[in-house]
């Protein structure tokens, strides 16, 4: 045995965000599943502990069964309220406060969206909202683009984690800029969780191989033909990617190197 740590010790190192430790480095959303049963089984299969939810008006004309807490137990999962759909700092702060009141912790996944077509973040509004919420005692996990400067400012603002995108929300395009993600991870001390854009297991694996601390995904599971199987695949891919990163890959070379001895060949 040449390694310093057994593989299960490596992947088992917990992820700590805002003073809380989590075993799983995969976080999942609860939106867009075809059925609530699919959602519950997929989340279970993913092994995720942190599960995101949105804050919306109660529909007073329909049954109250649409609330996600009728299907997911807050004792079983760490519920992370988001501010999805908010287009200004003020609106995001309002939703964050409502989420904290509805919820079970001080964590918020902060989104301030700047454009309806791309759903890319409004980084100015994001920073303003982050500063306000940190002041109010929130543990802010900030969804941002893959820009180092914004990531550094979010860290300076006191965010508990910075969440750069792999590619736009719901696009499934995978990790389009590994260099930016690696740079952000290298320069920040706060946990870096890649949020949005992962489409399939190989995307998750490649993303984790960049050394980031975790991944948050929703559509890749909800829109898979078999969400439960995809959730299991994503759980394995996140672990595989994490372990490969810790193992340290071989160098890339543009020449072949034989794997078998060149000496000892028959004459």
């Amino acid at each position: 045995m040449t390694g310093t740590l057994a593989p299960d010790t490596l992947t088992g190192a917990p992820l700590t965000i805002g003073g809380r430790s989590f075993r799983s480095r995969l976080m999942v959303g609860t939106g867009k599943y075809r059925t609530n049963g699919d959602m519950v089984r997929a989340i279970e299969a993913s092994g995720a502990e942190i599960v995101t939810v949105a804050v919306r008006r109660v529909d007073l004309d329909r049954t109250k069964e649409e609330g996600v807490l009728y299907h997911l137990s807050p004792d079983q999962y760490f519920l992370l309220a988001n501010t999805a759909g908010c287009y200004s700092a003020d609106e995001a702060v309002r939703y964050a406060r409502l989420g904290r009141e509805a919820g079970f912790n001080d964590f918020v996944k902060l989104e301030v969206i700047g454009d309806r077509e791309t759903l890319l973040p409004d980084t100015e509004g994001l920073l303003a909202a982050a500063r306000t919420l940190v002041r109010e005692g929130f543990q802010v996990l900030a969804y941002t683009n893959d820009d180092l400067i914004t990531a550094l400012r979010l860290e300076d603002a006191g965010c508990a984690a910075v969440m750069p995108l792999a590619s736009p929300i719901g696009s499934g395009l995978g990790l389009v800029n590994p260099f930016s993600i690696r740079t952000i991870k290298r320069r920040l001390s706060a946990p870096v969780i890649v949020d949005a854009g992962v489409g399939t297991a190989s995307d998750a694996c490649v993303t984790m191989e960049q050394g980031v601390d975790g991944i948050l995904m929703n559509t890749a599971l909800a829109e898979a033909q078999d969400p439960v199987a995809m959730a299991r695949a994503m759980g394995l891919a996140v672990e595989a990617g994490r372990l490969a990163y810790l193992a340290g890959r071989m160098p890339r070379r543009e020449v072949a190197m034989p794997s078998s001895p060149v000496r000892g060949m028959l004459e």
Partner: protein, 69 residues
């Protein structure tokens, strides 16, 4: 008993009064443990729902957690 006109989740409603916010939730068939109440842009904490009176013209938002990413 009289009636109060209030806006709940963007819609004008006539509700029985006088009423506390807890009464209003009961009138709407909602479990106070699963709903967060915002009255005139201020969150009313769950423990205060039973002592906070609904006033004529109040704007009330009732929210909860739904699926999201």
């Amino acid at each position: 008993m009289s009636e109060l006109t209030v806006t709940v989740n963007g819609k004008t409603r006539r509700v029985p009064g006088p009423a506390t916010l807890l009464d209003l939730l009961a009138h709407l068939g909602l479990d106070p443990r699963t709903v967060v109440v915002e009255r005139n842009r201020e969150i009313v904490r769950r423990v205060r729902l039973g002592e906070t009176m609904v006033a004529e013209g109040d704007s009330i938002e009732l929210v909860h957690f739904v699926g999201g990413g």
